[in-house]
Subunit: 591 residues, 2 copies
């Protein structure tokens, strides 16, 4: 009995830890065809993307494919999202290139070794966040900061692909603007054939959804709008361009991928150079946080569509494990891919098994099809990257909310500009700093509203917005903010001024319905306010103090120290403080 | 007519700018005796303190007296506080010594020249804060940070006086702990006579209030408790020790102040060495902010006792001007003095004229009495400093609020330790950082409470704390926090989980009575929450949205986008959403 229970318990905790066990024990046979189809479709989308992002990250093409192997399988085992596909993504590739290219030339063995160290560090940081339960830290990246960062990253990625698209070779420049200038300066080195391939792929990809949907309609498929096959444009473009290059013999006139070693990755062990580790640490922390934020948001969106939840702790662990897998297989940092995850979802994936089938497609490709890449033009890959990241750019929300959320729009613009000019670390840190500063600033200028009785009800509302009854000897002021160090002095000042300015005031009632927290600085302020008011013969009362706050305050002696009382609500405060109950019901002019 | 009005107007604006004009035009003859007495008493307190703090600051004794001359007069002219006394203070002296001693040996001419530059920079920073209306920035120094800092400063000051008290000469050490260790190591160099003077002065000063009060009673004075004469202990100690040293001829065996040049200060112009200016800037900013915070809090406390207010803008200007006065007269940075201001107040000062009389005492001292300082033992000054700053140490509030405000207590302890170990800049910045981090952290874990109808009233309160009526198909959740980037994801998660967990829920009403602000991240969250709930056939409504927030939200399309409605209050939401009005009044079990 006890043993059985123990096994049941340990099985249960194993299931929490390895969600795939739960998936497999409840697996229904008819899910299989769905997962298989989805896995194949995602595989078709994955392969050209993986090779294209490998160039963006500065690693050889096979590393891109390796990133879709062990990491993807590991996430399928440990991840709490049923449809999220983990693997190479554009933003992480950009960050890897920006970091590692400072230490070694791109595509070199040394570069790849450093990338492995980076993967290991990312895994370590994600696990550390998991162990210390600090995953909530990522919430400091506000929506405007993320939007600004992603916009900047997309612009950087697009600029980085222009040389590949046009055939113009560029040295390393300091900034995307300098890159653009160099590009325009070297316009005479443009290779017409490369540009022709690049631009026609761009044009095809932009129109591919509609083209493929039309073809599907022609062959009698219904509901072509979001058919998964419409996402196979990149694969089609790759196949068509390989055929063109091979049959027209263009591989001498055009940069192509060239030799890609066949076979599965061998295990590698990252080297331990302490100085390098310390140098990479800040970049690793940023990539880890970005990885987690993006993956978590993809996972949540997909889970919500099925009214399920994902487990943030488990996600931290699973993403860490996936990056550990990347570290030991010569791949590069992985994250949840928005495009491939949505293809997976819309192709009907039911369980993480679809990721396993996708990995199988990658294995088959690595085993039998690497020869095909020899004639794949790099310009086509550049076009694939550009079209993938154009969808990331979002200026709409900033424009839309400009009038209401000007602060947030400024934060977004500032983050974007700082990332573009000073790089990702500075830009993101500054963005977080600006978010916090603006929040503290807005909290430090609270609304303080005089409230009065609404008709004969027990409701008290702002005298400015409603026809309410006030009482000459009672001033009821609602403080619309937590009372804490950044605003305590100002609140004290304004409460005192308004109480002293209004001649007949005998009682000040501070309505705390919107006060969720009073810190030590706020408490000191209340003591001071009380004694200052007492010197003017005005009593200080509180009303509508919420449960948790009341519990906290009753551990101090403020409730006994104030000259007035703590009332359950404003209605009771008025009833008790008004000179007599007759008077209390007579309306008075607002003051 | 127009000219008269113009003069009246300009006189009025001049009066705002130069409060002393207003004071003098309304001056009543019988105020004069009060101000004169207070000025004399404050002068008696000021002179020994000024000389003692000069040694602490590392400047010659006359500089301490100069700091009570032009700066004090300037503040009396421009300051908005009627009783605050500006001049040398212990904490600023400590900060000056810590800063300037890195660039020149103490008591040298070069040291004094650098101190003048520091005064000038402090003046500039205070004026900049005034011009940019950024005085509110100082609110970032929360109560725990200030308390922690002042405690650490007091400890540093006391340790710095131990050599003077004991006659042990010490080199510059890195930390107060090292200083203490060196002191104990050099205990054989102790000068018994110095220590005897030091310790007996300490003992006398600690008991001086009671001793003087008793003497006053003996000579028939009533109400001796807070009699201003009880504050003249330091002056008495100085006079008695000068008499002892002179008559017993001890000045060969004892370190004394020695030669102090007679006469008023001459004007000096600070030099402009750009590198030095840049190096001093961070310290100047910190001294300026501490100066303002301390002075403002003294001014507010005194003003409140007379039910008046002080003007923060004018204070910034006046303190800046006072420091400018210090810069050009070879003095050192000045601030409002807590001890001398309260002596001034309790001695009955009515107007800033008392400061002018106090300055007169200083002028007379500088002109006729500098010879007396020759035999004033430094050990007596050390004892005066120690007793002055012991009163600054405050561990009570931290102990008192430990159980309720543990975060704040930790912030206080951390600030104190960091100031002691790493110095003032690091300690204060870290303290502000910790305050902000803890505030963001507490805001990121909001209370979300289910509310129900209280009896038959229109009030809705927590189901956990009150016997309330809830409705099976409506879940009313009150979010007790602003909805912003640091908590949006968590609020989304918890609202969604609670709505899905409760089986019959058809309507989720988010009660916003405690929400004062929703930022762009929060708004995005509401859109997402709405669509996630819609997939589970649950409508999303808001209630009790306050005026300013409603105004902001109505500029977005969230009010139209949500599947439910925005209700005026929870009562109306329930009445409309409950299946029919009969059912709405039937109580149900809490869920």
């Amino acid at each position: 009995m006890r043993l059985g229970m123990r096994i049941a318990l340990s099985l249960r905790s194993w299931r929490n830890f390895v969600p795939l066990i739960g998936v497999l024990t409840h697996y229904r046979r008819h899910d299989l065809s769905h997962d298989l189809l989805a896995g194949l479709v995602v595989g078709m989308v994955t392969i050209p993307q993986a090779v294209a992002y490998a160039y963006l990250a500065g690693v050889p093409p096979q590393s891109g494919l390796y990133a879709c192997l062990l990491p993807m399988v590991i996430y399928a085992i440990f991840g709490s999202s049923k449809q999220m596909v983990v693997g190479p993504v554009a933003v992480a590739a950009l960050l890897v290139a920006a970091t590692v290219s400072e230490y070694a030339p791109k595509y070199s063995d040394a570069y790849l070794a450093i990338t492995s160290v980076l993967c290991l560090q990312i895994a370590g940081i994600l696990w550390l966040l998991r162990l210390s339960q600090m995953g909530g830290l990522v919430n400091l990246l506000s929506h405007p900061v993320i939007t600004g960062f992603v916009n900047a990253a997309a612009i950087l990625i697009i600029v980085s692909q222009l040389p590949g698209l046009s055939g113009i070779a560029l040295g390393d420049a300091e900034s995307p603007l300098a890159d653009l200038a160099n590009l325009i300066g070297a316009v005479d080195q443009l290779e017409p054939l490369t540009l022709a391939f690049g631009l026609s792929t761009l044009a095809f990809l932009v129109a591919s959804k509609r083209i493929i949907a039309k073809c599907l309609t022609l062959i009698g498929v219904e509901e072509t709008q979001d058919h998964p096959a419409t996402r196979t444009g990149p694969m089609l473009a790759a196949v068509i361009s390989i055929i063109l290059v091979s049959f027209l013999g263009l591989n001498g006139n055009l940069q192509t991928v060239g030799f890609v070693p066949a076979g599965l990755p061998t295990l590698v062990w990252p080297n331990f150079d302490l100085a390098l580790w310390l140098n990479l640490m800040p970049a690793a922390a940023i990539i880890a946080i970005i990885t987690y934020v993006e993956s978590y948001s993809i996972g949540t969106t997909l889970a919500a569509k099925q009214q399920t939840r994902i487990n943030p702790h488990q996600e931290l662990f699973a993403l860490g494990a996936a990056n550990m897998g990347a570290a030991i297989t010569g791949a590069y940092p992985v994250a949840g891919s928005f495009s491939r995850s949505s293809v997976n979802y819309s192709a009907g994936a039911r369980t993480p098994l679809s990721s396993l089938f996708c990995a199988l497609v990658v294995v088959l490709t690595l085993t039998f099809l690497t020869g095909l890449f020899a004639n794949l033009p790099k310009a086509v890959l550049a076009a694939i990257v550009i079209v993938s990241v154009i969808g990331l750019i979002d200026f709409k929300s900033s424009r839309k909310h400009w009038s209401v959320y000007r602060h947030d729009s400024w934060t977004e613009l500032a983050t974007m500009s700082l990332v573009l000019i000073f790089g990702v670390e500075v830009g993101l840190l500054a963005g977080v700093g600006i978010s916090i500063a603006l929040f503290i600033r807005s909290s430090s200028q609270p609304n303080i509203t005089q409230v009065g009785r609404l008709d004969d009800s027990e409701h008290f509302r702002s005298v400015k917005r409603f026809e309410v009854t006030t009482y000459p000897n009672i001033l009821a002021l609602r403080v619309d903010e937590n009372i804490f160090f950044a605003n305590a002095t100002q609140i004290e000042d304004r409460l005192l001024r308004r109480a002293l300015r209004r001649k007949d005031t005998k009682h000040l009632v501070v309505v705390c319905s919107s006060v969720n927290m009073i810190d030590a600085t706020g408490l000191m302020m209340l003591y001071r306010l009380n004694s200052h008011l007492a010197e003017a013969n005005i009593s200080l009362s509180l009303s509508d103090v919420k449960g948790p706050l009341m519990k906290q305050l009753s551990n101090t002696d403020i409730t006994q120290s104030i000259s007035g009382e703590v009332f359950f609500n404003t209605d009771q405060a008025i009833k008790q403080l008004a000179p007599n109950s007759q008077l209390a019901d007579q309306p008075h002019e607002n003051t």
